[in-house]
């Protein structure tokens, strides 16, 4: 009956083979989560805020070179390096497998950002300012973070809450695929899948057992909830060789 108490493990599967690097997820995230706008000043200082970023790398030698993209949100690690370093317990793991950032507890020590190997935590160095015509575009379900606190991808927790609440009001269990994140909705090639990894029937848990699946920086043993599917190589042996090497 009480849906919040059910132990879930929200996870995301990102198919890098489908990713075209269009940056749609970045914009969707920025709009959904009231992430402040970045200007040149922020780029120059290396203080860009974007909960989701798309990294580009080249594959192959010129002239047979291919651009590959990998979108990186907060990995929501099960063994998160950011959590034990927080002196005020502002970031912790809840029973839904999410790494939570409690904005009103945060005092801005930035230890968590130093500990994060994926560089997905962002510190508000300035009070966020939007152009006057964009003031009414802010999402009322998400707190506007003020200066001096840390923020990061929340797996669109406001959408999870909304979905869970709706299911509870209608006296039913949440269905797989009912809750979508903003980046998932915006993805033109449907490279992003979101769901409950604890549910063996869900789409994400099936995809996460795919041959192509891997996690970022597995040697750190962070056990992320964001699972990537490798881009498809023309010959399969090359991929298996690479995958075997990455575990060494």
């Amino acid at each position: 009956m009480v849906i919040e108490n059910k132990d879930r493990n929200w996870g995301m599967v990102i198919d890098t083979d489908k990713c075209t690097g269009c940056n749609g997820c970045v914009i969707a995230c920025q709009v959904e989560n009231n992430v402040p706008l970045n200007d040149q000043n922020k780029f120059e200082r290396g203080r860009v805020m974007s909960w989701m970023r798309v990294e580009r790398y080249w594959e192959g030698e010129f002239p047979e070179v291919k651009a590959r993209f990998i979108p990186i949100p907060c990995q929501h690690c099960a063994n998160a390096p950011c959590e034990p370093v927080c002196p005020v317990y502002a970031t912790y793991h809840n029973n839904e497998g999410m790494n939570i950032q409690v904005y009103n507890r945060c005092v801005g020590t930035r230890y968590c950002a130093n500990g994060c190997p994926y560089i997905v935590r962002f510190f508000n160095y300035w009070e966020p300012i939007w152009p006057e015509e964009m003031r009414n575009h802010l999402n009322p379900d998400v707190t506007v973070r003020s200066r001096g606190i840390m923020e990061k991808c929340s797996f669109c927790i406001q959408r999870i809450r909304r979905g869970a609440r709706k299911a509870k009001e209608e006296n039913r269990e949440l269905e797989d695929g009912e809750i979508t994140t903003a980046c998932q909705d915006a993805c033109s090639t449907q490279a992003i899948t979101f769901g409950d990894l604890n549910d063996p029937e869900s789409k994400v848990s099936k995809l996460s057992k795919d041959d192509r699946s891997y996690t970022l920086m597995p040697h750190l043993n962070t056990d992320p909830n964001v699972i990537y599917l490798a881009s498809i190589k023309e010959n399969k042996e090359e991929f298996q060789e690479e995958k075997a090497n990455s575990h060494d």
Partner: protein, 223 residues
């Protein structure tokens, strides 16, 4: 200073200074509490002195006994209980109410209603919203959802607090949405000017959540 210092000594002076700082801190913390905690009623002078007593008050006491959800329409299925648009007020008050009432004149003005040649004309171009002052305000980092709480309380009337005298909901299994509001808002139907009754601080939220098995995860409200 030459006289005082030898008498009470430097130790005494520093003690007084420390006590003064502590006292200032105490006063600051005291005033930082919301006024209802201290037993004062903080009322606001609204742009139109809307009488909840006349609209929502019990029929036996001269009110109309209107349901709260008639005006605060989105409260059952949305996170916020919206203040109604002027048009909703005007839907009744273009006909009902004294012509000479000062408050109704203000309402008709902001709804764009005027009479010409014994005809009532509604001109939406002349309408303008009323700048109501907000009475119940939660901090910006809290996400309170009315619909979830109303959904729970209507099915679990045991958790309702501050039940007004004129309501008879004891022993019922299901109650109306408008009968649960008093838990946080008090008996608004009998308030001349709406004021905050409960402190609406996090301690109160968490206590109620613990008593009724609500989620106590930080991310349930703070996100």
């Amino acid at each position: 200073m030459k006289v005082i210092v030898p008498i009470i000594g430097l130790g005494g002076l520093s003690t007084i200074a420390i006590l003064a700082i502590l006292f200032a801190g105490l006063i600051n913390a005291w005033l930082g509490q919301p006024l209802p905690v201290l037993g004062f009623e903080q009322t606001f002078d609204q742009p139109i002195n809307f009488p909840h007593t006349k609209h929502a008050g019990p029929v036996t006491e001269g009110g109309l006994g209107m349901d709260c959800t008639y005006c605060h329409r989105t409260v059952e299925n949305s996170s916020s209980a919206h203040v109604p648009a002027v048009e909703l007020c005007a839907s009744c008050h273009r006909a009902i109410g004294s012509e000479n009432s000062e408050e109704l004149k203000k309402l008709r003005e902001s709804a764009g209603i005027y009479s010409e040649n014994n005809q009532v004309i509604v001109d939406p171009k002349k309408a303008s919203p009323i700048n109501w002052k907000r009475v119940h305000r939660l901090p910006d980092h809290v996400r309170f959802v009315h619909s979830a709480h109303i959904n729970y309380l209507t099915n679990n009337p045991g958790a309702i607090k501050n039940i007004p005298e004129h309501l008879n909901i004891y022993g019922k299994e299901n109650v109306l949405s408008s009968e649960v509001c008093s838990t946080c808002h008090g008996d608004v139907a009998n308030m001349e000017q709406v004021h905050q009754v409960e402190p609406l601080k996090m301690g109160q939220c968490v206590n109620c959540h613990r008593e009724n098995g609500g989620p106590t995860d930080c991310a349930a409200c703070h996100h």
